[in-house]
């Protein structure tokens, strides 16, 4: 089932509300603002808009969620989704809002780290098909200028054989095929 986002108030087809409703496959007007999503959200209150306020702004067709931090703090745990009395999956709304914010260039400054992490992750995965946690951590620390983050655990991980620095994880059979199928490019 696909929802258009409900009532067509002032040409809503091209509006943020309509696009998010389509991407998340829900009717934003089904939300009756009970706040159950906010009540159970592990990161609500650390951002700006609360999850139920994100829904309210969408109902009003306001662009405020586009520049909100909350979507970037969403961990995708779906607690909101399994407890919503109206069966709305807000984690999909947050997914859609991040994509919209990227496109509109309205990612808030406070979301810099989360955005960088997601981008590096996806770029690395699309480059070779697989992910190396070392490479991910290294590139992230470098580009986020968090040079020493998590560095203290490095020796323990190396001695326990949990990480390797030779990049073998990334290769595996079929590397060429994967590279061909995936749209990404190896980052310099």
């Amino acid at each position: 089932m696909t929802h258009s986002g409900g009532v067509d108030m002032n040409s809503a087809t091209g509006s943020l509300r309509a696009r998010v409703a389509r991407a998340a496959d829900l009717n934003v007007f089904s939300c009756y603002q009970c706040g159950c999503c906010t009540a159970g959200c592990p990161t609500a209150g650390r951002g700006d808009l609360l999850p139920h306020q994100v829904m309210r702004h969408l109902q009003l067709d306001s662009d405020e969620p586009l520049s909100a931090l909350q979507p970037w703090l969403c961990v995708g745990c779906q607690t909101c989704a399994v407890r919503c009395p109206q069966e709305l999956d807000l984690s999909r709304v947050m997914d859609a809002l991040r994509a919209e914010a990227e496109q509109a260039g309205t990612v808030p400054a406070a979301a810099r780290r989360a955005r960088l992490f997601n981008r590096i992750f996806v770029q690395q995965v699309l480059a070779s098909g697989r992910l190396s946690e070392v490479k991910l951590g290294a590139e992230y620390n470098l580009r986020a200028r968090a040079f020493f983050q998590n560095l203290e655990s490095l020796p323990a991980l190396l001695t326990r054989g949990k990480i390797r620095l030779d990049g073998k994880t990334l290769r595996g059979p079929g590397l060429a095929r994967r590279r061909q199928a995936l749209p990404g490019k190896e980052q310099p």
């Binding site: 603002q33 706040g35 159950c36 159970g40 609360l50 009395p85």
Partner: protein
């Protein structure tokens, strides 16, 4: 040659806008057998009806076709007019050119052509109509009430006081229903038992009321005016005639730790027990599933201590047949169970699923607050008997919750939650009462004022938001909620949590409805015949509805509906006999082969066995016969009969085929 009159109604603009009524009249006038065709702005008005009557009188019509709205709306109107002019009313038929034509089409010429087709078909039918006469059925002036809660009690007393004998069936050992469990009632805070128990006694003592407690409706046969109801009187294991209700048996019973249903599981009772001190009848019953004697054959203490020798372990279920002319269903409600909500519904594991002792429901709180309850009216929590210092009330638990399977509002929770919070504050002055709500719906008389009083005078804190989950921690319950108005998460540590759980129909409501042929919705709430104009009748003739079995209701509403249902029964019983529509099936007994396929498919049990005998009384053959008093004219038998020996009066094959031929020449 027939002499048929055709009358086309504009229904103001409703039909006239899309159908060219004058053209329809012109086309109808040219049909063979039609001697008169005319259109009019409002056919149902007095002048319109007079046009019909004048034409019947002056042109000696033998058939009338009215092309107008739905026959459900005005067929009685035009048939009455026809009858008043001396023509058999079943020679008048309606063609629906509004709902089935003008309202659903836009193209005027095409709609007009369709209206002409419809009229032509009906003219062909009416040519073949015959005189039919209403079937008179006798009436048993006695009513059944199913359910002995406040709705059933009110309906029974109103009818009995109007002189109608009443048979009341209650499945529990005592009448009184949920209202007998309540502490005080909103918005006046009068004591529930104080106002209810006199009514219960009145039921028991009323000379016109026969009371069957611990009984259930087993089977329903017959039809409006003539129901034959079989009632199962479950074995009480106590001889009601001998028992004096002294109560010694329940004091001496060694099994004393059985959770009491009356106390919503918070108190205990014995295996032989009177449900509560004001029970009617005030006589005990043995819970055979928990009684040591029934489980092991030992014990028998109650039998030994009973002076009058009333305990009877051998007692069996009894069946009683009662003949009644009407019934009032008042089977009430049950609360949604967060642990085991039943088929099709999802529970609330996130609220502990019923496993946290100090998370209780509204009826349990009523028992805690009630002077006759397990704590004598002191608010003490179930786990350790301590007086809770912080009590959190959650509204809409299960209700308005599509994910749990209940999308409706349970209507009474806003009010009883306000009452609970207020009662708690009255009893524990220094305590903190917090209510999580989504909306406060208090539209009754004095209701909103009551909620404001709780907020403004009794300092109950209302937080707008839903709670994501509850868990036990360090002897308290952690409530993870939100205040959407302040815009922040609210984590509260509570000593007691009270859930306003959804109102649901009683277990077995659907099964009972099927026995009476009463419709019900997806939740098994009984359906009224018309939501506005027939709110207390079911679509099954002679069966009325009262109380929460039809939808969530508070006490005043349940009582009002019960009185209305009683009035409906009184109206029905004001007649000598009942007239039934003669549109019934009839068997051509000379060709019926006696296969009884019709009997198999008849939903009303209207097909009977008929024995054809010769003059010496020897059995020649068996055929089917339709009891016209029971038949509802659905036609299922007609469609089933392999030898075409059945036909439906007013809708014979000949009539139907004539209509089809008129459309597809």
């Amino acid at each position: 040659m027939s002499r048929i009159g055709v009358f086309i109604c504009h229904c103001g603009e409703n039909i006239g806008r899309t159908v060219d009524c004058a053209r329809v009249a012109e086309a109808a006038g040219a049909l063979p057998g039609v001697v008169h065709a005319v259109d009019n702005k409002y056919m149902c008005s007095d002048p319109g009806q007079n046009m019909v009557r004048a034409a019947i009188r002056d042109l000696k019509l033998d058939g009338v076709v009215v092309a107008a709205c739905s026959p459900a709306m005005h067929e009685p109107t035009f048939r009455r007019a026809t009858f008043n002019e001396g023509l058999n009313p079943f020679r008048c038929e309606m063609v629906n050119v509004r709902e089935q034509c003008s309202w659903v089409h836009e193209d005027r010429p095409a709609a007009t052509d369709k209206a002409i087709d419809l009229v032509r078909m009906m003219v062909e039918k009416v040519k073949r109509n015959e005189d039919l006469f209403p079937i008179k059925v006798p009436l048993t002036r006695r009513a059944l009430v199913v359910g002995g809660g406040i709705a059933g009690i009110q309906a029974a007393l109103d009818m009995a006081n109007a002189g109608i004998p009443v048979v009341m069936v209650e499945k529990e050992p005592s009448i009184g229903g949920h209202m007998s469990q309540l502490s005080e009632t909103f918005p006046t805070l009068d004591c529930s038992q104080c106002i209810l128990t006199p009514r219960m006694v009145e039921v028991a003592q009323h000379p016109l009321i026969t009371l069957h407690t611990y009984s259930e409706v087993e089977k329903v046969e017959g039809y409006i005016g003539n129901f034959r109801v079989t009632i199962r009187k479950k074995a009480r294991s106590v001889d009601m005639a001998k028992c004096t209700g002294c109560g010694v048996c329940q004091q001496k019973c060694p099994q004393k730790k059985i959770p009491s249903a009356f106390d919503a599981g918070l108190g205990h009772r014995a295996a032989i027990y009177i449900p509560f001190p004001q029970a009617v009848p005030n006589k005990p019953v043995i819970d055979r599933e928990r009684c040591t004697h029934f489980k092991t054959g030992k014990c028998g203490v109650c039998e030994k201590v009973c002076g009058p020798g009333a305990v009877d372990f051998e007692q069996q279920d009894e069946f009683v047949v009662e003949n009644v002319g009407a019934a009032v269903l008042a089977t009430g409600y049950q609360l949604y169970d967060i642990g085991d909500p039943g088929a099709g519904l999802r529970g609330y594991p996130e609220y502990g699923g019923g496993k946290i002792a100090d998370v209780i429901d509204g009826l349990q709180f009523e028992r805690l607050a009630s002077a006759s309850g397990p704590t004598g009216g002191e608010i003490r929590r179930p786990s350790d008997g301590k007086v809770p210092q912080t009590v959190v009330f959650l509204q809409c638990v299960g209700s308005r919750d599509r994910a749990k399977g209940i999308e409706y509002c349970s209507k009474i929770c806003c009010m009883y939650t306000a009452k609970h919070a207020l009662l708690y504050k009255h009893k524990v002055h220094e305590g903190k009462a917090v209510v999580f709500y989504m909306d406060v719906r208090a539209p009754g008389k004095g209701y909103d004022e009551f909620v404001r009083r709780a907020v403004e005078q009794d300092e109950v804190l209302y937080l707008r938001g839903k709670v994501s989950r509850l868990y036990e921690d360090g002897g308290q319950i952690v409530v993870s909620g939100v205040d959407t108005l302040a815009g922040r998460q609210m984590e509260i540590r509570a000593d007691l949590v009270v859930l306003a759980t959804a109102i649901r129909p009683q277990t077995g409501a659907a099964r009972l409805a099927q026995k009476f042929g009463v419709g019900y919705d997806g939740h098994a709430f009984y359906s009224e015949a018309h939501p506005k104009l027939r709110p207390v009748e079911s679509a099954a003739a002679g069966v009325m509805l009262a109380g929460a079995c039809q939808g969530p209701k508070d006490i005043p509403e349940a009582v009002a509906q019960a009185s209305a249902a009683a009035a409906k029964v009184a109206v029905l019983f004001s007649r000598e006999t009942l007239d039934r529509e003669p549109v019934v099936a009839r068997v051509n007994e000379t060709v019926c082969a006696g296969c009884f396929a019709c009997q198999e498919v008849c939903p009303y049990g209207a097909v009977e066995l008929n024995e054809v005998r010769d003059r010496q009384g020897r059995l020649l053959r068996r055929t089917a016969r339709v009891n016209a008093g029971v038949c509802n004219g659905c036609g299922t038998c007609v469609a089933t009969c392999p030898s075409k020996s059945l036909e439906l009066a007013g809708y014979t094959d000949e009539q139907i085929f004539a209509q089809i031929s008129a459309l597809v020449p």
